[in-house]
Every structure is written in structure tokens, then in C-alpha cells.
Symmetry: C2
Subunit: 211 residues, 2 copies
Amino acid sequence: MSGVRAQQKEKTRRLLVDAALNQLSAARSFSSLSLREVAKEAGLAPTSFYRHFSDMDELGLTLVDEAGLTLRQLMRQARQRIAKGGSVIQISVETFMELIESNGNVFRLLLRERSGTSAAFRAAVIREIRYFTMELCDYLQQANDLDSEVAYMQANAAVTIVFSAGSDALDMEDKTERVQLSKQTIQQLRFIARGAAELSDRRKAGRKTRK
Amino acid sequence: MSGVRAQQKEKTRRLLVDAALNQLSAARSFSSLSLREVAKEAGLAPTSFYRHFSDMDELGLTLVDEAGLTLRQLMRQARQRIAKGGSVIQISVETFMELIESNGNVFRLLLRERSGTSAAFRAAVIREIRYFTMELCDYLQQANDLDSEVAYMQANAAVTIVFSAGSDALDMEDKTERVQLSKQTIQQLRFIARGAAELSDRRKAGRKTRK
DNA sequence: AGCAATAGCGTACACGTGTACGCTTAAATT
DNA sequence: AATTTAAGCGTACACGTGTACGCTATTGCT
């Protein structure tokens, strides 16, 4: 019942997953990784790969799942920090940027496979990002008392801006450049928040007078 | 002097470029294209490829250049339409969406290689997009009398939003879905415009009182 | 007219790829 | 203790890849 075998299997499975993640870089996308490369990096014979995944695609989807997990951890962490007070937007952006610095490869995976070549991957990534967006949407609607449609548009725009900034940040090695980018991103999010708040107010006023 | 030879060479060079472009699709990225495939599609022997490009990379950069050209045509067309009156934002978004419907592959190339695997490609794509952004920035600054830094942030955010929407539009086969996306994008751009105008005003007021 | 340049082709090679197949060895089950 | 299960390995194969090399045929130049 201890499952020495299953335990060992899970261990080398992780070896494969980690091997794939570690091979990702600015110059190396998941789709450019070969089964043999991953197996070799994990210290396995090529054919042993099949004991864990039937395909590189299957490994890839596992990776996307892990990336989604990381994204959710990010949200949790941001919420905790926000609870302690401070500018919501600023804290969110800074938390996000930290994630990118420490988990660049995970983020790269999401960015690339989003517009990648495999329909399954795209669907999986889009699902994760949508989940992320919806979570933000709920928060905005509740915290700022927004019209639900307006909240969605704001959340969607904000996520787009932040992800794009993250993508840019990945290519920066200079620290001050990144700080500058953060500032700009924060300002852009404020633009959006401002516009959304206004539209939401206008809609509410419209509903009132119509009654 | 007529240059029968050079003329013919240019012709088959175009054959290669077009062959590469035609092979692009949702399921096929440029980096997944092989020299042999492109040559075959162009009706050439693999080795004849080298008479025109030393590399697939060189062909790729040519493609990016063409994409940049398309982007500039887009700007010109949008400007012409704007001159005839109407909502600037609406016209811009609609023009952009038309481009995507008719030149999906060109746009896909830009989107993918932007976060792609080759540093040279990324640099080239980023240059084209930056040029696009700067052009918009100038327009905004002049037309709306904005603070220059604010205008840049607005232009940058707008381009990000529009490109992201374009990327989403590529995956839609339903027409009404695309119309809905356009509406949302227009609204999001208005959010940004609103926020930017406000910040610009605040900055100007600040400068006045300080004098 | 004669020579040089060159676009395009065919052949050939070494290399990396996915994966089918059978074997070994150790855990799990009986 | 005997048997079944399955993780991992090595070998082997067919296939697609980039590209070096030499050849042909046509254009351009002198």
C-alpha cells in the first residue's frame, strides 16, 4: 500500500516536467523541444518517455496546467498584499513583475502557446487566462461597484496590458528599465480604471432617470 | 539593359516569399516551416533556394519587412477614412479588423515572431510595432493636444489592446462574434483615451499654477 | 562570336527525429 | 514462494532535414 513504485514513477515524471521547463528560454520554445532532448535532460532513455506521456503534446498540456497554477498563486499573493493596504493597481503590477522575474519560463510558455501552433494548447492557455480575467472581473465589480459589463471590459483590458508588459519585461536585463516599465503599466491601468468608472457611472445615471 | 535575367530572378524570389506566406496558418508558424517545404511549394528544387536567400531566417526577415509595409498601408487607409469624418477610434478599429480578415497570415507572423524564438525576428517585429506606435503617438499628441509622455502611454496601451483583439479575432469564424469584439475594443480604447486626457489636463494645470 | 556569370537541378551525405519491439529487473499480487 | 506487472533500456528503422558539390543551359559582357 505504501506504493514505492507509484512514488518512484511520480518522481521521474516530475523529472520530465522539470526538464522541459528548464529547457525553455528566450531562444527555445516548447514546440521546438524534441522528445529526445527532454528525455536526455531528464536522464532517461528516449523510449522511457512513453511510460509517462503518450506525446509531447500531453507533456505540454501538463505544463500549461502548472502555469495556470502559478497564475492562481499569483492572485492569492496579490490579494494578501492588497489586504495590508496600499494602491491596488501598484501592488498588483509589482507582484506580477516579481512572478516574471522568478518564473520567466512559465510565463514564456503561456505567452507563446497562446498564439502557438497547436489548437489544444491555445485552448488550454486561453482558458487559464480567461479564468484569471474572470477572477479580476469579480473583484473589480465588487470593490468598485461597477456595471458588470463594464467590469469585464476593464478586467479584459487590464489583463491584456499587464501580460503585454510582462512579455516586454522578459526581454529586459536592465533593472531601471523594468522599473520604468512598471510605472508606465501602472499609469495605463489607471487610465483604464478611470474610463471604466466613468462609463459605469453614466450607465447607472441613465438607468435612474429612465425610471 | 532590360535585365531579363534580374527580372526573372525577382520573379522566382517572389515565388518563394509568397510560398512561405501561403503556408502560414493557424496550425503552421514560420519557424515550423522547412526550407524544403517552401522550395517545393514554390516549385523549386531545395538547393535553388540558396540562390535567393542564404537562410530561412533571411526569408523570414523579408516577410517581417513586408508585414511592416502592410501595417503602414493600414495607417494610411485609416487616416484617409478619418479625414472624411466620424469617430476616430471606431474607424481605426474597423480598418484594423478588415486588415486581419484579409491578411490574416501577415498578422499572424507578426504576433508569433514577436515572442518567438529568434532574437533577430523579435527585434525586427518590435521595430515595426514601435514605428506604428510612434506614428499613433504623434497623431494623438497633435490632435488632442496631449502631454507628450501621456500621449506615448496612450498610444502604447492602444496598440497593445488592438493587437490583442486582432489576435483574438483570428480565432473567430463567427461574424457576430467579431462585431462584438470590435465594440468591446472600441470601448476599451475610449477608457484609455479618457484617462489619458484627464491626466494630461492635470499635468497642464499643475504647470500653470506652479508658475 | 566567344567567354564569363549565374539560376536552377539532381545526387549524395550526415544528422536528428518519433517510435516499434523485445529484454531486464524490481515491485506488486497471488 | 511463485507469478504477474510495469518502468526503464538498447537496438533498429524509416523519414525529413540542411546543405555541399558538380552539372546544364541561358543571359550578359567584351
